[in-house]
Point group: C2
Chain length 259, copies 2
DNA sequence: CGGAAAATTGAGTACTCTCAACCAGCGTGG
DNA sequence: CCACGCTGGTTGAGAGTACTCAATTTTCCG
C-alpha cells in the first residue's frame, strides 16, 4: 500500500515471498491482514548473505538494527571468564534474532551464524514505527519476544536441574518441534546444524560427555543423528527422556482482546 | 485525561506513594511525565497482603492480571519430572512479576512469595490499554520485560558454565546491585530473603554443597550472611569470584528515539 | 587426495551429589 | 519460664555423574 510503487530502491532487494516463513509463524499467534503484511514487507530491509560463523550481534556493541533469519541457523551465546562458552538459544529460519534491539541500546550477548545464512536487516526505529501504526504487527513482534523469554526460562531449568541425557533429549525435542511448527522441515527428519561441541555448549556439558550421551540415545533407538540430520525415531520415548512439555513454546496462544 | 475523577471506587484503595519504588526504577530508563504517572496510578489496581509461600502465578493457569510487588520478595520457578525445582528469577519490591501476561494466555511457570508481601494487581487489558495511550508507559513496561529476559539469559550462563562458588557469588552480586539500584536497601547490607535450599534451587546446586560454598565465601571474607541479611564485605573480590559484569542488567539504557 | 574439523574411545580424576545425622534459632504452648 | 518442635543450617563420609587429558578414527571439503 501507500506508494510502494515509486520507491523500490531498497526494498526491491526483497522478494516478498522471503517473509513466508515469518508470516506463517506469526499466523499461529497473530492474525495479520494483507495490508499489514504489505506494510511490513515494504520496510527498508537490507538483504545479505553471510558465511558460517559470522557475527550477527556482538556483546558490548551499540545496537540499531533488527535482523531476520531468512535461511540458515544462528546461535546466541556468551563467554565466561575462563573462556568457556554458553549457548543461550538456537534460531531457525523465519525468526528474528535480536528484537530486543528495539529498546536495548547495547548488546549483552553474541549471535553467530551456525551455517551459511541469508538475513534481512531493518533499522530498529523502522520496526518501532510500524508497530506503533499497526497494532497487530506490534503484537506479533512482542509475542515473539515473550516466547523467546519463555524459552530462556526453560533453558535455565534445563541446564540447572536436569541430567545430561535429559538435557540433550529436551533440546532435541524443542528443536524438532520448532522446526515442525515453522514448516522448514518435516517430521521426523530435521536439519540439525549443531556440532557436538556446540550441543555441549548449549547444554552446559563437555563435548566428550555429550558424545557419550548421544550414543546412549542412539543405542536406545530414540534418535538417529549424523551429518547434520536428526531423525526422531521414537517421539514419545524422546519426549519422556527429555522431560519435555511444549507449553513453554506457546505455539497456540489464545488471542487476548486486541487493545 | 478522560474522566478518572468520577470513579474512584477501586483505585482509592491505592496510596499513590506505593508506586514510588516502581517509578524510581522506571526513571532510570524511561522518563515519565506527571500526567503519565497519574494515569498509571489511576489504573484499577487491587491491593492485597499475602503470607509467605503464597502462589502468585501457577503453571498452566490462564492469565488475566499483572501483579506489582509493593513490599516483600517473590521467586519464579518450575518443577521438573523428578520433583526437583529450578528457581528462574528473584523479584524485589517495586517489580512487576508477570508482565508477560500482557500477551501470553497461559502461565508457563510458578511464582511464589518468599516472605510476607504486599501486592497490587491490575487487569492485563488495562495495562495494555494504557500502554497504547501513553507511549512512555508502553516503553517502560517493555523495557522491564526485555531486562527480565536479559537476566534469564545470564542465568542460563550462570547455571550452565560456572562452578558452584562462581554461581553463588554471581547471584549475590546481582541481587545486591538490583537492591541498590531500586533503593530498597543500602550498600553494603541487604535483606536476603532466600534460604539455602532456595539458593541451591536458584543455582542448580544441592543445599549441602550450597552450604559449604557459602562457608568458603565467608571464610575468605567476601560476605557475611545470616538471618536473612547479606553483607558484602569485599565487593571487588565478590565481583571477581562471581565473574560478574553488570551490563546485562541494563541499568543505564540509552533512550532510543521515541516513536 | 590431503588436511582440517568433527566424532569417538580410553583411562583417571574431581566436583558435586546422596544419605544421614546433628545443631541452632525461634515461635508456641504448657 | 522452659520444653517442645519445626525450620533452617552444618558436618561427615562415601558414591557417582560429569570432567580432563590425550590419542585415534571418521567425516567433510577444497
Amino acid at each position: 500500500m501507500r506508494r510502494c510503487n515509486d520507491a523500490p530502491k531498497r526494498h526491491n532487494l526483497i522478494d516478498p515471498s522471503l517473509f513466508t516463513l515469518l508470516f506463517r509463524r506469526w499466523d499461529r499467534h497473530s492474525a495479520l491482514s494483507k495490508e499489514e503484511r504489505e506494510a511490513f514487507s515494504a520496510l527498508p530491509f537490507v538483504r545479505k548473505t553471510l558465511p558460517k560463523d559470522a557475527y550477527l550481534v556482538e556483546e558490548g556493541r551499540p545496537t540499531s538494527e533488527c535482523t531476520l533469519l531468512l535461511q540458515g541457523f544462528a546461535y546466541r551465546h556468551k563467554l565466561v571468564h575462563d573462556g568457556a562458552r554458553q549457548i543461550i538459544s538456537i534460531h531457525i529460519p523465519g525468526e528474528f534474532i535480536d528484537l530486543q534491539h528495539l529498546m536495548l541500546a547495547t548488546a549483552d550477548h553474541n549471535v553467530q551464524t551456525l551455517s551459511k545464512t541469508e538475513i534481512a536487516s531493518v533499522p530498529a526505529a523502522a520496526l518501532r514505527d510500524i508497530g506503533a501504526r499497526y497494532p497487530a504487527l506490534q503484537r506479533a513482534i512482542w509475542l515473539d519476544l515473550l516466547i523467546d523469554a519463555s524459552i530462556f526460562r526453560e533453558w535455565v531449568v534445563n541446564v540447572g536441574r536436569r541430567d545430561a541425557r535429559t538435557r540433550i533429549a529436551h533440546l532435541l525435542c524443542e528443536l524438532a518441534l520448532r522446526l515442525d511448527a515453522s514448516g522448514t522441515d518435516t517430521s521426523p527428519t530435521y536439519e540439525f546444524p549443531l556440532t557436538q561441541d556446540q550441543l555441549a555448549d548449549a547444554t552446559g556439558l563437555t563435548p566428550v560427555h555429550t558424545n557419550r550421551t548421544l550414543q546412549s540415545l542412539r543405542k536406545d533407538g530414540l534418535i538417529a543423528l549424523s551429518s547434520s540430520r536428526l531423525t526422531v525415531l521414537d517421539w514419545d520415548a524422546l519426549r519422556d527422556a527429555g522431560d519435555f512439555s511444549e507449553r513453554y513454546l506457546h505455539h497456540a496462544v489464545r488471542h487476548p482482546g486486541r487493545s
